[in-house]
């Protein structure tokens, strides 16, 4: 388990943002890179690798990886639906959207579909309260969700997965 040349170059660029000897500051951005590179989650092996890159102890990586909610500590589906359930989204119907996704995909919160395509996760406020209800899908937000929009997103993901396979 190693980064590609491009990713290793990126790691060096990130370390250079901080004063000499403060390379531990690169940990959070480098963990994001590791999660992207190694299948959307952080295994113990991936975390140990990051520790070796930054010359810090593995425990320093574990304690950070387990603290922040954006790191996945077990495998997730190819498409991770992170649906906001906090107050402002709830006022605009996020409960119903979550129920609809559960029904549509036949999974509960925290579960992955049997084909490994979708994982459903509920999350706390993502700062999109004026565009509620919403979810995060990869790098982008999907906002003003309705049942029709959810259908569309699921279809989009399925056809993207088919074309990639």
């Amino acid at each position: 388990m190693v980064f590609s040349e491009d990713k290793l170059k990126k790691v060096q660029e990130i370390i250079a943002r901080y004063p000499a000897g403060k390379q531990k500051s690169a940990l959070i951005p480098v963990l994001h890179l590791a999660q992207e590179e190694f299948g959307g989650w952080l295994s113990a092996e991936a975390m140990d690798y990051v520790a070796s890159l930054l010359s810090i102890e593995p425990i320093e990586v574990y304690e950070v990886a387990t603290f922040y909610s954006m790191y996945n500590l077990k495998p997730v589906g190819r498409y991770l639906f992170e649906v906001c359930q906090t107050g402002p989204c709830m006022l605009n119907g996020s409960d119903q959207i979550i129920d609809y996704i559960k029904e549509k995909l036949g999974i509960g919160v925290g579960e992955t579909t049997s084909d490994g395509l979708f994982t459903l996760k509920t999350v706390e406020c993502l700062g999109a309260c004026g565009y509620a209800p919403m979810m995060q899908l990869g790098k982008h937000y999907r906002e003003h969700l309705t049942k029709e929009k959810v259908d569309q997103i699921i279809e989009e993901c399925r056809s993207r997965a088919t074309s990639l396979n």
Binding site: R17, S25, V64, F67, T86, M90, E124, C125, G127
Partner: protein, 451 residues
């Protein structure tokens, strides 16, 4: 129409790019300070402006800057807090997404004032696409000589870096943010020492919110005194308000802190009123942590004056009958909404986001969530309401950082102003389980305004 200082140019086509931003007068404040002002003079202008931190606490920015220790041979840092995670608040996102060069310009001027050669924007990890927008703007500023070595021949060097967080509300607290920037868990530090003396990598550091740093640009362009003439009293300048919930026009609005709360909710220029012919029930005007107010307290202060959208007026009457400006996250609830359910979602949020360092917060937030869940789902007892009150009192003021207060205040205000709604849930367990909330008597008794 109120005065626009931050969003005036946000709707110009292509304003996200350097060329258009510059054509529209961008970076004039950098030219002005580098040609005519010393770093101390810049701080003096910010003091004169009366600018208060726009992240939520409202502390005077110029004063915060003047506390920065300046020991010889030790680097100083400016950190821009773009962690925006308070439910109801999405104003900084708008600013960074649509007019990123305004923030970069404000950061250069502020870095110069504070003597920061490496400045960091700490942004919440979920705003991944905004990281790309900011990095593009920084690259353009670099390419055009506004960043780098010996900027405009002044001998001042400055570079700006974007640091992405990874999903933790607590990192919006300045010492937790510093810990996170150092590659650690976001556990707040005990203060003192304050960051101005011992901040990131133990060096003197100023942490300011995105909106605060962007506001430095109009302050320099207009002059501090001119900026201070906008607004009322100690609420000077303009404020971004992110409005959401049950309103016709959710979005980010720039106000000059002279308009009434009622006008903000009902006028077409702002929220446009409540949709679907519903009446207003309650509002949280400053982000989820500030007290919720029912309609009868929302439009009038304790003294009986019209309540204005500014720091003093919103806080009038203290927590008994008032609330706070906070971050400007304006959450509106219509007559069909259940205050108990909404409070439960907030309790869950604060339990999820507690860093776990302090027992009152770690244990108390989870306990409050469990009790609220029981009440909400018709399994509560009357004594639970008093227990809930007691727990929030034991959290408030007993934690290292303000997250404990932020978790306690929404529960306290909900019980204070909507106690009979909690009692209704206890007394009507079947209807409560069926999510049939009733209690529309809290709603604004005035006729629904005609659209």
């Amino acid at each position: 129409m109120g005065r626009k200082l931050l969003l005036e140019k946000a709707h110009i086509d292509g304003i996200r790019s350097y060329d258009v931003y510059r054509r529209e007068g961008g970076y004039a404040s950098v030219e002005k300070v580098f040609k005519n002002m010393s770093p101390d003079q810049v701080t003096e202008e910010v003091k004169k402006s009366g600018l208060r931190g726009r992240g939520g606490a409202g502390f005077p920015t110029g004063m915060k800057w003047s506390f920065l220790a300046k020991p010889e041979g030790v680097p100083r840092y400016l950190v821009c807090n773009a962690d925006e995670s308070e439910p109801g608040t999405f104003k900084d996102r708008y600013l960074m997404e649509f007019i990123p060069h305004l923030l970069i310009e404000g950061l250069i001027v502020s870095s110069y004032a504070l003597g920061s050669n490496r400045t960091y924007i700490y942004i919440r990890g979920e705003y991944a696409w905004i990281v790309d927008i900011l990095e593009q703007a920084i690259a353009e500023a670099n390419a055009n000589g506004w960043l780098g070595k010996n900027i405009l021949g002044t001998g001042f060097d400055c570079q700006i870096y974007v640091q992405r967080g990874a999903g933790a509300y607590i990192c919006g607290e300045e010492t937790a943010l510093i810990e996170s920037l150092e590659g650690k868990r976001g556990n707040p530090r005990i203060k003192p020492p304050f960051p101005a003396v011992k901040g990131v990598w133990d060096c003197p550091t100023v942490v300011n919110n995105v909106e605060t740093l962007a506001a430095v640009v109009p302050i320099i362009n207009l002059g501090g005194e001119e900026y201070a003439k906008i607004g009322i009293g100690k609420s000077t300048g303009t404020k971004l308000i992110s409005a959401c919930g049950n309103i016709k026009k959710p979005g980010v609005y720039e106000i000059d802190m002279t308009i009434s709360v009622e006008e903000f909710i009902y006028s077409d220029e702002y929220c446009g009123g409540i949709p679907n012919g519903k009446r207003l029930k309650a509002c949280i005007p400053g982000g989820s942590s500030v007290p919720i107010l029912p309609t009868n307290l929302l439009f009038k202060t304790a003294k009986g004056d019209t309540r204005i959208m500014n720091y003093e007026s919103l806080a009038d009457g203290g927590f008994a009958t008032g609330t706070m400006m906070g971050s400007g996250g304006f959450i509106v609830m219509d007559e069909d909404q259940c205050v108990v359910r909404h409070t439960l979602t907030l309790a869950r949020f604060y339990r999820h986001e507690s860093c776990g360092q302090c027992s009152p917060c770690r244990e108390g937030t989870g306990w409050m969530e469990k009790i609220l869940k029981n009440i909400e789902y018709g399994k509560g007892k009357m004594s639970d309401i008093d227990l809930l009150w007691d727990i929030q009192r034991k959290i408030e003021g007993n934690t290292i950082c303000p997250l404990g207060d932020a978790a306690a205040w929404p529960v306290a205000a909900a019980i204070r102003h909507f106690r009979d709604e909690f009692e209704w849930h206890v007394l009507n367990p079947v209807e409560s389980q069926q999510r049939n909330f009733g209690l529309a008597h809290y709603a604004d008794p005035r006729p629904v305004p005609v659209a």
